[in-house]
Subunit: 104 residues, 2 copies
DNA sequence: CAAACATATCAATAATTGTTCATATGTATG
DNA sequence: CATACATATGAACAATTATTGATATGTTTG
């Protein structure tokens, strides 16, 4: 079915932008931390030992790319992965990387 | 089945490294160009309008991460994706990104 | 509405990384 | 073995980006 043609240069740039955002250890840790349940900014910062400012900056980038989504609940804002696509993608990639040794 | 635990900080770094390499438009274009058939360095450079040096530098990084693999054939070296994992991953991600609008 | 708390933003710095140009290595051919 | 060709490497530069510290915005509670 849907065989993938070589993406246009524009598409490639958009795709690369997503990869780029996932390509930072701090951001990846934040994403995995929010994978199972929504987490407040403060919780993320404390649990991952990052400054509140840094977490906020990264969340902004992730929000901008619609990789995460935040819900305000009183004073706190709880972030979670934006949708199932994103979480599947993360999990898949993690598996891909674990299974490093290929069949070739 | 295999539910994914939160990766260790080390694993996260390794995973991020892979994402990071995919997160550059030039490298992604090179990868997609080599997706269907092996391509020589010169062919890549000409077809994608990049300097030979630049292509070679990027190929080195991709080789280092075992994302591509090169076969010498006389004077030329033909690069292709390292294995099916890598190509599947690329195609999957491209689909994920195309289907941007989630079910949430 | 002031004080306390949680998150976001701004400006500046430090570190990383993509790109270029010059040159080296390796390979075939006359 | 010299020349031409294809790719790789090294040093330097330019640009991008992660991180920090200080401060602003927004939200609740007394």
């Amino acid at each position: 079915m849907n065989k993938l043609a070589i993406p246009s240069q524009l598409d490639t740039t958009i795709l690369a932008e997503t990869f780029r955002l996932l390509g930072d250890p701090t951001r990846l840790r934040i994403l995995f931390f929010c994978l199972d349940e929504p987490r407040s900014v403060g919780d993320i910062a404390t649990s991952l030992d990052l400054s509140q400012s840094l977490v906020s900056h990264h969340l902004r980038l992730l929000r901008g790319a619609r990789l995460v989504r935040g819900n305000r609940q009183a004073k706190q804002i709880f972030y979670e992965l934006a949708d199932k696509h994103v979480s599947d993608m993360l999990v898949d990639m993690a598996h891909h990387v674990c299974e490093e040794s290929g069949e070739d």
